[in-house]
Each structure stands twice: as C-alpha cells, then as structure tokens.
Subunit: 403 residues, 2 copies
C-alpha cells in the first residue's frame, strides 16, 4: 500500500493512513506500506540546498532528500503503534533496495527484502521509505521523480505480493481527465502497455518507470483513492488477458506541458538533423516528436516537441549548433497541446488514425504534428483547442459514460 506526500501531509492524515493500514492487517492480510516525504518537505529541502549552492552535489542532495521519507516512516510507525498495532519502519538502505550509483535518478538493480518478510511473520505492519535506496557499497541514492511508486512496485515484486496498491487523490485511471471530459469513466482493468502509453502521453496517475517495473516483474498494480471507502475498487493494471477482447480505444489523454520548437532554413543535407538532435541529447533534452518539412530550394524546416521544463536547455543547445549548421532562425511555441488516443485493440483495427483526424477536422482543429505507436496516436494541436479535442475524441470513440 503506497501513499504519496499528499496522503501523509500532516499528523491527522498520517493517523488516517495508520488506521487504514491497521484495518487491512486486521482483515488478515500481510501489510507493507511505502510512503513519500510529507507534503512539501522535499521541496523545502531542495530550497535549503539551493541557498548553499545553485548546483549541489547529487550525492549530497540524495543524502539530504532521503531524510524526508525517513521522517515519514518513523512518524507513521509511531502512529500505528499508538493505535495499538505493532509496526516497524525501514529506510530504503535497510530494506535492501540496491540501486546503481546514478545519484538523483538511481535505478533499482536488486531487492533483498529479507527484513520485510521477517517482520511480516511477526505480524508487524512494515513501513518502508519510498524514493530511496543504496548502492552496493552503502551510499544513499534516490530514484528520481515518481520514485516512491517504483519502490512500491519493486518491493511488491521482491516479496511476491499479491498486489501493489497505489493510493492517491483520484479513484483510479480514467478514460480521459474528468475535469475536462465530464463523461469520462473509470477504467476497471488496463494492460501495462496501454498504461505506459497513457503515462507517456499525459496521464499522471502512475510514473512510467513503475509501470515498466510492474510489467517486467508481472506485479499487479491497483490504483485507488486514499479517501474512498476500502471496498471501492480503483483500476487494476496488469498483463494483457488473451481471453478478453481489447477495447479499440481505451482512453484519450492530453498533455499541455510541452513546447514546439521550429528551426527554419536548415540546409537539406544528410547528417544535419543528426547534429541537432545529438546536441539536444547531450544537453539532456527529452525530445518527443520530430517532423521535417519538405525541402524548398535546398532549405527545410525542422520542428520538434520537448517538455517546457527543458526549454532553457534547448535554447543553449541550439545557440551553439545552429551557427555551425547555418540555419536561419528558430522559435519556440508554448501554446500547444498533445492529444492522444490509446488502445490495445488499435493494433487489429485499421482506420483508427483516420477516424481521429476526421473527428478533429470536424471540430475545426488543425493538426500540427503526428506521432504513432502500435497502440497510440498523438497529435499536436493549439493549446486552446485541447479540451474540445479531448471531449470530441472521447465521444467519437464511444468512451462516454452512459447512466
């Protein structure tokens, strides 16, 4: 049972999480809780570090940030004990979450959860710090964004748990963002592949890494709400079930956190694009979609999208390489949105892409860039048309919830 920072933001909420864990343990289940730092603690620690250094050592930053979850686990274990149930807390180091040595975004290489299993046989609720691990030689690492989800899934794999329940403030995975598409419905079951495509295209319920981990180790994830009653089901994420007929389209997602960069007047010679995207990669820019226009008099335009957070890295990379290339100008457009449809059944149903384009055209929405995978089609459109596009696609692909 994994609870994020909002679910443990203060003592009252910690006490509520404790009560929930105890209720589950009393029902006869062995219970392991994975928790994040309380509320804004991680942000506060980062701010302290930045008062000292604009770019602190990542090793020392991990040393610092890992204290956030350690405070939560100690207080949560105390809260469980105060409510009359036995509990024990473990840091990522203690629980044997062994990672590589890439500080601030370490990858889990091994889990040695012997102490968790031992505590469970003693009928203790085990409370584990999310987001953190240690290297083989005992250095403290953190797993980066979404790391607590990854801890929970990895630990579930390590102890062969029946399922890994990820609690948040939403009741599950939806066919679209319910704030935009009021007829969106909660999805009961979804495959790892679909969930990965949804996470990559804007659905924020689960981190991609945790879903990848779950797929690789066949961990059943149950996304559910911290605030809903315990018997209310959320969304089960698991392997594709060959006996079930796949929905052609399971969900419509959108993402307004990207920007489109267009470079104009690029000489249309082999290797030019490679130079550009090489430089961007070296600057840690996560380029998403790329399009190169038809050449006109030996010059062409290249457009690509990247997270808005990477814009300053994009700028410094392009400043350097465009002079060498001899491109004319470049500009950044932040007023874009990516709208995607995701569905495992798409593989076997031709014509889905065409129906998406027609739906958007009928709404008077212009498509700027397109990218596809076997189970996803994404279109870049104007930001102010995103909500209409989501609603129209949700209706067009028969996702609307009917009473």
């Amino acid at each position: 049972m994994k609870f994020g920072g909002t679910s443990v933001a203060d003592i009252d909420r910690l006490n509520r999480v404790a009560a929930r864990l105890i209720e589950r343990a009393k029902s006869g289940d062995d219970v392991v809780a994975v928790v994040s730092a309380m509320g804004k603690v991680t942000d506060d620690l980062i701010e302290q570090a930045q008062q000292i250094s604009p770019s602190p050592s990542k090793r020392e930053l991990d040393m610092l940030l890992s204290t956030g979850e350690q405070v939560t686990i100690a207080l949560l274990a105390m809260a469980i004990q105060a409510q009359g149930y036995d509990a024990i807390s473990f840091t990522g180091s203690q629980v044997g979450i062994v990672t590589d040595a890439v500080y601030s975004k370490a990858k889990i290489v091994r889990i040695d959860a012997a102490c968790v299993l031992a505590a469970l046989t003693q009928k203790k609720i085990v409370v584990v710090a999310g987001f953190q691990g240690r290297t083989v030689d005992g250095q403290i690492t953190t797993l980066g964004r979404g790391g607590s989800d990854t801890t929970a899934v990895a630990l579930a794999a390590g102890i062969k748990a029946d399922s890994c329940e990820i609690y948040s403030d939403v009741t599950g995975v939806f066919s679209a963002d319910p704030r935009i598409a009021p007829k969106a419905h909660k999805i009961d079951y979804i495959s790892y592949e679909e969930m990965l495509e949804m996470a990559a295209s804007g659905a924020g319920v689960l981190s991609m890494r945790s879903v990848e981990f779950a797929r690789n180790y066949d961990v059943v994830i149950h996304c559910r709400s911290s605030f809903a009653p315990p018997d209310q089901m959320g969304t089960i994420v698991k392997g594709e079930d060959p006996s079930m007929e796949d929905a052609v389209v399971s969900a419509v997602t959108h993402d307004t956190g990207e920007a489109k960069i267009t470079i104009r007047g690029v000489p249309d010679r082999p290797g030019i694009a490679a130079t550009v995207f090489d430089t961007l990669g070296q600057n840690n820019v996560n380029v998403d979609m790329i399009i190169q226009n038809v050449s006109d008099a030996g010059l062409t335009d290249i457009s690509f999208t990247a997270p808005e957070a990477d814009i300053s890295a994009v700028s410094s990379a392009l400043e350097v390489c465009l002079k060498d290339i001899g491109a004319r100008t470049w500009n950044i457009d932040k007023d874009i949105a990516k709208v995607s449809i995701v569905g495992a059944g798409m593989k076997t149903h031709p014509g889905i892409t065409a129906r998406m384009f027609k739906t958007l055209a009928d709404e008077g929405i212009n498509i700027d860039l397109i990218s596809t995978s076997p189970i996803r089609v994404s279109c870049i459109i104007a930001a102010d048309q995103a909500e209409g596009a989501v609603r129209a696609l949700h209706t067009a692909f028969d996702l609307d919830f009917e009473e």
Copy 2:
C-alpha cells in the same frame, strides 16, 4: 573538529564552519568534522513525535531523530564544495559507529572507520553525523544527550587522530563560571579525572561520557570556541602528566539543577534505606548525594538529591514505597545548589575540605549535605547563596586571575 547545534544553526553559520574546516585542511591537516542537528531541529522532531504518541517507541524515535544530523552533514558537505574544496558526508551507520541496541542512549561498541580513512587519503574533508550509530544488524540508534561529543571522541580514537577539537560558544574550560566569578581564568590543561569530576558537578562544557571515552582511549580533547580566531588555544584535556605539579584545586563548579528530597520519620531498621533507593533506581532516578540523620526515638530522616528533571519519577516512586515503610512525610526543596571544588592535587594535600568549610562558614553559608571523592568536595547549600560561595571559594583557593 566537532561543532554543536548552535554552531550550525543556519545556512550562514554552516558556511562559516565550512570556511573554518577548509582553512584547516589547507594548512595540511586531515580534517574530519562531526556535527549535530541544526539549532532546534531535534526539539522540533521530538515535538512532532509527541503529537502522535506521548511515549513513542524508542526505536522509531531514533529513526526520526537521526534525520536531524543527516540534514546537517549533507548541507555542510555542499557548503564545503561550494567554497571549492572536496568533501563527503557519512551518517553514523555508514561510518561504522556500531552500538548496542539500547535505543535513545546506545553505547558505542566498535568503530569501523575505513570509509573515513579512505576519503581522507583522497584529500576530502569528511563530514560525519554526530549522536547516531547502528546496531550490528543495521538498526539506527542514537547515543543520547551529549552524543555528538561522544561520536567525535570515539571517531578520533577510531582513526587515531592527533586530537579531537570540540567547538562551542565558550573559549575553553574555566576555573569557575565566568558569569558568576569574574576573576575566573581559562584552564590551559586539565586531566581526564578532574574534567570528569567537573562535568559531574555542573560544568557543562563536555559530556561525562565523551570524557570517559577519551580517558579510556587516550584521546586528547581540545575544547575551544567556534568564534575565536583559529590560533587561540582553548583547554586541553588529557591524561595526568606526572612531570607536572597538580594544582591543589583547579576549579570551583556549581549546579542549581538538583533538588533535595527529605523523608521524615523513617523507622531506623536495617534494609529500609535499601528499599527506598531500590525503588528510586527502578524508576530511573539518578540519586546523587544521600545523608541519613541520627536516629531519634527509633525514627530517622533521610535526605537525598536528584536532578530536578527526575522529580516526577521521585514522587511516584516515593508514593508507592513510603506507605509500605511507614514513613511519616516527605518534602522536596528545589531551592538548593551544589558547590564543588575539584583538583587532582587534593589527594596529597590534607586539610582542603576543612578550608572549604571554613570559607563557607566565614560567608555565613550553612552546609546541608556533603559528598567527597578523592579529587572533589561537594556541598549542598541554599540556592541564593551559590554565587557568593563560588566567588569566595575561587578566592580562597587562589584561583583568582591577576593581571
């Protein structure tokens, strides 16, 4: 070089400590820093725990409190790096401070400081979390009050350091509290035994445990000020030097933190006092001095002193055992002070005790209880006479500083 919570209370002070460490490293010394939690962090964490439980599990409390020093070491390492010198931080667990499993007041059983020595050969300043360790099987422990001093001394022993410098806001150990005795002088050298007696009788510069550790492992301690210039000597605490003539009396100490408890009308039978002090011991009361008055008609009075902090434990212990004993009444007097003289030369100089009593008598000060060791004499007197007593004794034993 050990710096307490006040010396690292905020980012500015951390930066100043970093500068001081770098200055020392640049002078050619290998430098290990041991630091406490910043300012009031430990108190804040305890308060959070007590919002959850009035008596939280000591294991979980240690898990919680150990984050305080971990934050300091990470930020101090960043501050050193930001000032251009290489540094690395280690928790108590990482540095191999192995303790017993008595949570909240664990005792160090072994130090495996290989990672410290390795980092020093790489010319790094090593920053270690004070106050904390781990058990043989990896549970996090804390060392209790004064624990960071003990970490520093133990680590100095473990790496065979030339000396262990304990920084605080005073310039060294004084012949009396300078706020009370303006003619008090800083002591240049003092033996472990004298320092232990001083610590036990009210001098707050060093914790008794750290001095005991230093004596057992022959670690030279240098008490000095965080704020004085680096070339200003403080007080060196080391083994007795047979070539030096001992001062008869080295210092006058006082302690107003104790209370005197008097039990009246105790039947004067063998075993009664044992029952009383057994019960007090079981209630974790640290009884200091004891006096039993002359018997009068088969009844006697017993007086003893204990820290004011233990008063509620005293009360509940006595409530229980006095009824069984059949004592008449008991009362608590907090308006007392303990005034002591300490000096290694006392052993070979008879008449010191008599001179102390005469000095106090000349000042019109009544002595309530007396206790002695080979190198200390302590008297309990009225609290409002403590300052006068300290000044008079300081003069009587020729300790006054002359220009």
